[in-house]
Each structure stands twice: as C-alpha cells, then as structure tokens.
C-alpha cells in the first residue's frame, strides 16, 4: 500500500493571515480556485476574439478588423483555449481540487511547489496578454506557430509578439511540470487507507494519466519553443532552411521546418488527450452519480484511459498527412489513429450502458454530461474521416477540420467543465448553483454549439479553406456559403453572450444560492464526505477517512440507501467488487 503511514501525525501549518490563506496559498483547494478563475478570465478574452473573427467571416467588413488583426485574433484564440484555458482548468483547476479530496489526502504532497505552479501559470498568462501591447501586437502565426512564417516578416506580430508567445509557453510548461509532478506523486503516494488504485474514481484516473502525458509531451513543445526562440533572437537555424523573403536572401541555412511540425505534434496530439482524458474521467463520475448507477465496466474504462494515453504518443503525424513528410508514414499513422477509436468507442458505449437501466436524474450536471456524449460522438466520428489518411487529403486545412476539432476538443470538454462546475460548486462554496439559470445556460450552449459546428462540416466538404481572412472572388464557393457563415456567426454571438448567464450564476449563487449541505447529490466518493463543506485546510479533521469499497456503489441490492459511500465498511454493506464478472 502506498499511503503515508504517519500522515495523521504530520503538522498541518494552518495558514494564519489573509495573504497566506488566499494569495500565497499552499492549500490545493485555494490553488484550484486561483487556477480556475484565471483560466476562465483568460478564456473570456479568447471568447471575445472568436466573436470578432466570426463577425469578419459572417459579415465581412462589419467590424473594423483588418487581416493583421484577424490572424492575431485567430492565433490567440486557439492558443488561449487549448493551453491557457483547457489544460490549465482540467489539471490546475479540477486536478488540484479533486485529487487530494478524492484519494483522501490532506493536500498535494508538495504544497509549496504547487503554489509556485500557480504563480508561474499566472506569469505565463500575463506575458501572453502583454503581447497585445507590444509594437506589432501579438503573434498571428496560427496557434501551431509553424516556422518559418512564425518568425519572419509577413506574419503579424513577428517583431515581439512571437517572442512573448514562446516565452509564455516556456513559463507555462514550467508551471504545468511543477503541478504535474504533484498530481502524479499525490495519486501514487498519498492515497488514504484502503484507497487502492482500482478503487479510485475515474476522475482521478483521467487526470492522473493526462498528467503523465503532459509530463512526457510538454518537453517536446518546450525544446521546440526554445529552439524557435533561438532562431528568432540569435539567428540559429534549427527550423530555418536556406530561404528568401520578398526578394531578399535571409541569413538562415540548413534547418528543417518539418522538424518543428514533428516536435509540435509529438506534443500536440497527446495534448488533445491531456484535455480529453480528464473530461472522460469527470463525465464518467457525473453520469454515474446522476444516473444513480454504478459506472459500467469500470476496469475496462480504466484500461481504455491507459491505452488511449499510450496510443496518443504514436499518432501525432496524422496532423501532417499533407505536410510533405514521407508519404509512406501515412499507412502507419492512419492505422494507429483508427485503432485509438476502439478504446474511445468503448468509453462511449459504457457511458450509455451506465444510463441503461439506471434511475436518471436530469440535473444540470447530467444535462451537460449527456450533451457532452452527443458532441463528443460527432467530433469523434468526424475524427475517423481525418485520421484515415486518404480521406484527410481533401478535407485537411478546410472548415471540416475546424468543425471537427471544435466539436471534439473545444465544445465537448467545455461542456464537461460546465457540468463539473455545476456538480462540484456546492462542495466548493456550500451553495447550489441556480437550477433555472443553469438549465437556460445549458440549452443555449448545447443546441447553439451544435448549430454552429454541425453545418460547418459541410463548408469543409465544399472545400472552403480555413484561416482565410476573406473569401471574395472564389468561384467554387457559392453565395449560399456566405449565408451559412452569417447564420453560424449569429448563433455564435448568441452562445457567446449567453455565457454571461453562467458567470452571473457563479456570482449570484455564491451569495444567494440555496445551502447545499455536504453531499447534495448523494454521491459515494470521498470529497462529499468531508467533515465540513467547504472543506477546511487539511480536509479531513483529525483523522483520514478509511476506504472500504470502490466509488460506484449505487443501487446496491440490500443497502438502505441507493448509494453506499466509500467509507462504509463491508460489515454494513457487503463489498461486491470482487464478483463483478458474470
């Protein structure tokens, strides 16, 4: 057993001043709130940028946005959403809040490093935002930052924006590494009595495996960012071949632009799962709790998470089918990519089979979870188009790709973020989020995003290329495509503005929400069993909880209630976990 035996006797270093409690805090729960708040705020910047882009696409010329500003908005929107919002909120936010509570620990094992992690993250965000105010503005290189154009004239922000972007990413990776070492070590070393790995909630499994991916994948981005920074600042040629620009020879020689693409996607594909695996874990728990049914096929779900994690490292070049790499690689990467669909599909089946013969409560968290399944299903199935090399050839770099990745790693994970916040907000604040506002927010967000992205695939079939500031005078694009773009923009603006409902709900319910009690959803996992809600520093009072069963005992025959908390002993309610098989 890998729990610390004398953890109960360790001193707790209760924070005493306001500063040490809320600012320089080493408490994982406060750090989680800091991470999430920062991520949501910077995400709002990215949301506004996307609204501006949509105005230009849907109603060209309606706002004063030139091509420079468009490409800057496009780049910053993508980078913020993927890295500074989604990665940060799943690992730094949910990871921080839930891992210690769910495994029965008093805190992360390295609280000081955990605190540093947040402050490095904040600095990375500030450096990123500072690029809006430097000469030339933020980089407009596209979020993939492909060299040579990322650092040469002719791309917006090639003066200072790109430098700040690379520096910011490097700082972010330092932050993510400090946080990640904590999450992994905490899961491995700080689980409480009886909390075996196979009794952990899937949330912990998802975040745990995602963190391992992050620790292995981020270094590829780190080195490629550093190398590009050297290419930009001191004239090395890691990614820069003999080249010229606007009629003049540049001082670069012998580098390889495609090397950057390999490094970037060696990070970039696992990154998709760094976002997706926590979402898989969280949504599994939400579905099980609100369907009042044990998660179907728990062990298969764990192995699916692990095998998706492993496979995610051998599929990266499916982003590069038309990059000019050796075309024979396509056979290998198409095969690995489609293989990854099998464990992913199994997860979808098991979520559905958890609903089957359940006792489904359509609470707001559950609504978001079910919406996630639909959205993720569409995004996953369209991934089978793009993963299958020859099908990708006509569709790559078109709006089909835009629609696909927004469905699968934009909207789907965000729906889980919303569902999870509605689910755990009562534990964090002691109050329920407002149900009516939540449902309104849900319907607009779910149906709106579907209306935005489902038809967008068809612009891709048409062949409309992505990353175009304007589509004038292309005869193969019919006028009706512009009408569809206008429709998408209108829906996008409505969905964007409706997010104010969510922010309002967060603020309003903090003061006026109905008191929730400690376990409003009647859930089994440890975070709902803390002596106080919100949990105090140290989480568990004088003694750690003792775990006797897995986290999914809902509807156990013979039990008094329809849920059996993990701390309930085998004498009170028999433990079934060893006879799951037929």
């Amino acid at each position: 057993m890998a729990y610390a035996d004398d953890v109960e006797n360790e001193e707790l270093h209760e924070p005493t001043s306001f500063i040490s409690k809320y600012v320089w805090s080493q408490d994982h729960k406060v750090i989680a709130i800091q991470y999430s708040t920062t991520a949501i705020l910077v995400g709002l910047v990215a949301l506004v940028l996307s609204g501006m882009m949509r105005m230009q696409i849907g109603f060209p010329g309606s706002i004063d946005m030139d091509a420079t500003a468009y490409y800057q908005a496009m780049t910053m929107h993508g980078m913020i959403m993927v890295i500074y919002l989604l990665t940060a909120i799943f690992l730094g936010g949910f990871g921080n809040y839930l891992i210690p509570l769910m495994v029965g620990a008093r805190d992360m094992v390295f609280p000081y490093v955990n605190m540093l992690s947040y402050w490095f993250y904040l600095v990375s965000v500030l450096v990123l935002l500072a690029s809006f105010f430097v000469p030339g503005g933020p980089t407009g290189a596209g979020w993939t930052l492909y060299p040579p154009q990322a650092i040469t004239a002719g791309t917006p922000g090639s003066e200072w924006g790109i430098i700040l972007m690379l520096v910011s990413l490097i700082i972010f990776i330092i932050a993510a590494t400090m946080g990640g070492l904590n999450y992994v070590t905490t899961v491995l070393q700080a689980r409480t009595h009886g909390m075996t790995m196979f009794r952990m909630p899937l949330t912990v499994w998802g975040i745990f495996v995602a963190t391992i991916l992050a620790l292995l994948a981020f270094p590829a981005l780190f080195v490629s960012g550093l190398m590009m920074l050297l290419d930009k600042t001191i004239g090395t040629s890691f990614f820069m071949p003999d080249m010229m620009q606007f009629g003049s020879q540049l001082d670069y020689s012998g580098g390889s632009p495609i090397l950057f693409q390999h490094l970037f996607w060696f990070f970039g594909h696992p990154e998709v799962y760094i976002v997706a695996l926590p979402a898989f874990g969280l949504v599994s728990d939400l579905i099980s709790v609100h369907a009042r049914r044990s998660i179907f096929g728990y062990r298969m779900m764990v192995w699916a998470i692990v095998s998706i994690g492993v496979l995610s490292f051998v599929v990266w070049a499916h982003h590069m089918y038309v990059s000019g790499m050796n075309p024979y690689f396509g056979f290998f990467f198409a095969t690995t990519t489609l293989v990854i669909a099998v464990p992913t599909a199994l997860k979808v089946y098991n979520w559905l089979l958890t609903l089957w013969r359940g006792n489904i409560h359509l609470t707001v968290p559950m609504l978001f979870s079910l919406a996630f399944i639909v959205t993720f299903l569409v995004g996953g199935l369209t991934g089978l188009f793009l993963g299958n090399v020859v099908v990708d050839i006509p569709l790559s770099d078109t709006y089909f790709v835009v629609a696909h990745f927004h469905m699968v790693m934009g909207v789907a994970p965000i729906l889980v973020v919303f569902g999870s916040i509605y689910h755990w907000y009562p534990k964090i604040t002691g109050r329920m989020l407002h149900d009516g506002i939540g449902k309104l927010h849900f319907w607009i967000t779910f149906l709106g995003t579907y209306l935005i992205y489902f038809p967008m695939h068809y612009l891709g079939f048409l062949g409309m290329p992505r990353r175009y500031y304007a589509y004038e005078d292309y005869p193969f694009i019919p006028d009706s495509a512009q009408s569809l773009n206008a429709f998408i923009t209108v829906v996008a603006i409505v969905v964007g503005i409706s997010q104010l409902l969510f922010l309002f709900n967060l603020a309003y319910s903090y003061f006026k929400g109905a008191p929730s009690g400690g376990n409003p959803w009647r859930a089994t996992s440890l975070e709902w069993l803390t002596p106080e809600t919100p949990p105090k520093h140290g989480n568990w009072g004088p003694s750690l909880p003792v775990v006797h069963r897995w986290a999914y005992d809902y509807g156990v025959p013979g039990a008094v209630l329809d849920y059996v908390p993990q701390t309930t002993s085998a004498e009170e309610v028999p433990v079934h976990e060893n006879d799951h098989d037929e």
Binding site: A67, M244, Q245, F246, V342, L384, F461, H580
Partner: protein, 399 residues
Amino acid sequence: MFALLAKCHDKALALSNRGRIHMTFAVILVAIVIISVLFHFLSPWQATPLASNWGSIDTTITITLVITGIFFVAIVLFMAYCVYKYKAVPGRRSEYRPENKKLEWWLIGITTVAICGLLAPGLIVYNDFVHVPANAVEFEAVGEQWRWSYRLPGKDNTFGRTSVTRIDENNAFGIDPNDAAGQDDILIGGNQIHVLINQPAKALLRSKDVLHDFYVPQFRAKMDLIPGQVTYFWFTPTVLGTFDILCAEYCGIGHYNMRGQVVVDDAVSYQEWLSSQLTFADVISGGTVEGLVEQGQRLASSRGCIACHSIDGSPSLGPGWVDLYGRQETLSDGSMVEVDGPYLIESVVDPAAKIVSGYPPIMVAYELSDEQLNSLVAYIASLSSDPKNSTSIQPSTEE
C-alpha cells in the same frame, strides 16, 4: 434583470412535472438525429464537382459517412431511449451490474470490424495516391509570399538543378546556370499553369520562403510546399476549364489571397500555350537589352512586388498599380499626396513613412539601386487601364 429572468424560468420549471424534461430531452435527441440526417441530404453545401481522377477519394468519404452515420444514429437514439425509459422514479433503484465482459467484448468486436471497414478501402486508395504512375508528366509549382510561379522541364524532360541561394533578379527560379539540363526549362512567371487533360500530372512543389499548400478543390488532392525540400503529389485532370489554386497552409498575412490558376487544356490549346513560353536560356540571354519599363516589370515579378500590388486592377493587399501613377491618394493620417516618382521611391525604401489609408502597414523596406528604383517607377507609370498600355493577364473564370 438576470435574477428576474431566472425567477420566471424557475416558475416555468416548477409548473412542469419532473418527468417532462426527460421527454423533452429525448425528443430533442431524436430531432437532432432526424435534422442532421435530413441536413446531410438536403444541404446545398456539398463537395465541389470533381475534375480529376480522385473519385476514389470521394468514395472513401462516402463509405466513412455511411459507417459513421450508422453509429451516430444508433448511439444517439439509444441514448434518447435510455433518457426516456429510465427516468428517475422515486423509490426505484437502478440495476446493480457493474460489468458485463461479454457485452463489452462484443461491442469491441463490432467496433473493430467497422474500423477495418473504414481503414481498408482508405489504405487501398492511399496506396494509389503515393504511387505516381510511370507516365505522369512533371511540372513544378513554386510558392512564395503570396504568389505562384511554375517551371516545366523542357525538351530534355529533366529539370535543371536549383538552389534558393541562386535566386536573384535575373534568375527567379534559382536555376544553376551551369547545369545543361536547366537551359531548356520553361519558366512561367504568371500565376497560371496549363496542364493537359487526361494526362497524369506529377506536381513537384518548392517554396522560396515559408510553408504553402497547393490545393485545387476540384482535384481533391493537395500537398504542402516546404522551403528547403521538394514535395510532390499527382493527379489526372479530367475536366477542361480553369480552376483556382488556393494556398491551404497558412503563410502569413496574404494567405487568403495567394491564388493561382490551373488551366486544363486539350492537346491543341496546350501546345499553343506551350509554344509561347520562354525557356531559361531565353530569359537569361534576352535580358541584356531591355527598356526601363521591361526592367521594372521583371524586377516587380522577381522581387515579389506583384504578390501584393495587383497589376490587373483587381483588389490586392497593397495599393494596385493600375492607374496609380499621378493619382491623389489619402494617407492614413488624413493628408493627401500625389503619387509621383519621389513618393513611389520613398514607399519602396521606407514603406512605413506614408501609408495609403485603408491598407495595413506590413510592407518591408527594399534596398534597390537608383536604376532599379527608376525602372520600377517607369513600370508603374506604364500601367494604365487604357488597353494599349495594359500588361495584365485576364484570368478567366469559366469552368
């Protein structure tokens, strides 16, 4: 206002009974399935009509649509069924059955079969894609920010060696002048390439500066251009006409406007076009005696000016050159300027000094000799919408 809104919504919810939302949600899920399928068949936005041999790629898309469509419909409908059928009922409990290995293995098996059904045809067609037919005729497309030029191997069927370091005003393609194979290479500086119908074509792709991508939606196939290496793909054009070449790999601020054209000809028109093109030998020998205007024209082409400054009156990233000379322009600070020689020269050597209103300040400064600057001014001054002076290539748009 929000609070009021919320209260209204709350009351509405309280009036409806708890089971209603299950019904609503299930109906919406079914509606999503029906509308999505109908949209697929009725939508006016379908694949652009095919004009190459890659109908087999379209077939793989259709196979993928059918297989993924079945899963989409089945899964969402099953979800709708569960949401409706297993709605929360006070006092009822869910079934306690944490695992069903047999069912899970069945599902894994079915999924694997479906995946094979996608992968197998995909890889078979991809095998065709990576194997260029032996009778394919090569042409080279060269990308630079933000225009296209092309090269044919000439009579000897062999391209001359090239290097980006050899590119200068007289050698826009960077061909090695000492390589005999390069002398008869045919150079096409404009944005338009001609290819022969029903003749497999292998596109060799080269970039002078950043990544680009050669993409003709009607041909389906596409491939990136990478500075420092030559990439390729092949296709057989099957429909006569003119098709847009789009850049499909982001290449900086002019990306959306980096367009070329490929004209698919029958044998007669192709030969006619081919015979009017110049070889590398023609270009380097004919460049000795030329007027100021011709020198300026060559300079504008070789230094990439015309990527951003249109010479046919069409809108472009920077001010177009037709009828520019002598015009009064409004600058970004509101003042007026007459476009004359000194102003044009200043705009080349110090582009940021006086920006014409409505254009982004993105041009880089060029270091040119006085003679070169004068030749550019002469060329710009020669560009008039008066047809006798016009040097533009009128793009045809019929397909």
